[in-house]
Assembly symmetry: C2
Homo-oligomer: 121 residues x 2
């Protein structure tokens, strides 16, 4: 018995994994190229489909539609249809979606600092 050396590095191997878990959850919910941009746009004001398409540069209606559905399923946004002619659809943030404001702000701060860093090099 006693095959292992006693010098085996001693640090709790799980604490790091535990720390990673909730961040992976967040990545699953708001990860990808378009979700945060959509959420940010909606944090400014309620938007209609075409408005979002114009605000989020480079997105195609296919991706916008897909991501809006996922965000709705995850409870981050609301979709409201008005039977005007032609029909109009409004997207807004739920309280849960709004609760991302700190995450977005922190990321934005870091992003702005990064841009300045690159300029100053």
């Amino acid at each position: 018995m006693n095959k292992k050396k006693s010098e085996t590095p001693i640090y709790t191997p799980t604490e790091c994994k535990k720390f990673i878990l909730p961040v992976r959850d967040v990545i699953d919910i708001i990860g990808g190229k378009w979700r945060l941009p959509i959420i940010i746009a909606l944090s400014f004001k309620i938007h209609r489909f075409k408005e979002l398409e114009r605000q989020i540069e480079g997105i195609t209606p296919r991706m916008l539609s897909k991501e809006l559905k996922e965000l709705e399923i995850n409870g981050l946004i609301n979709r409201e249809v008005f039977n005007t002619m032609p029909v109009s659809v409004e997207y807004s943030l739920t309280d849960y979606g709004k609760s991302l404001d700190k995450v977005i702000e922190t990321m934005r701060d870091w992003g702005l600092t990064h841009r300045n860093k690159i300029r100053n090099e």
Copy 2:
């Protein structure tokens, strides 16, 4: 003339786009499934390749290798080779990588809250 209705919604159309830009930069740098987990592991301590492989559940050596390279190119981590036998390689965060701590903390907080939210429903 005067083709457009005067009821056209009036809000500065650029301010929202401007807000999105830095966040898109951040997504480019730390987006994806593995980069933040790697950064978090390295924020705990310097890791060797195999240690990272064990800490980050589900990652393959190929993806780990790929992502480590990209993180190094972007200046977020350091790679140091020691000519021991067999060779050992240590990965650590640069100051720039360390500067992500607030972003990670904020995301983690939100993730933990989200987990509790789901449990309480």
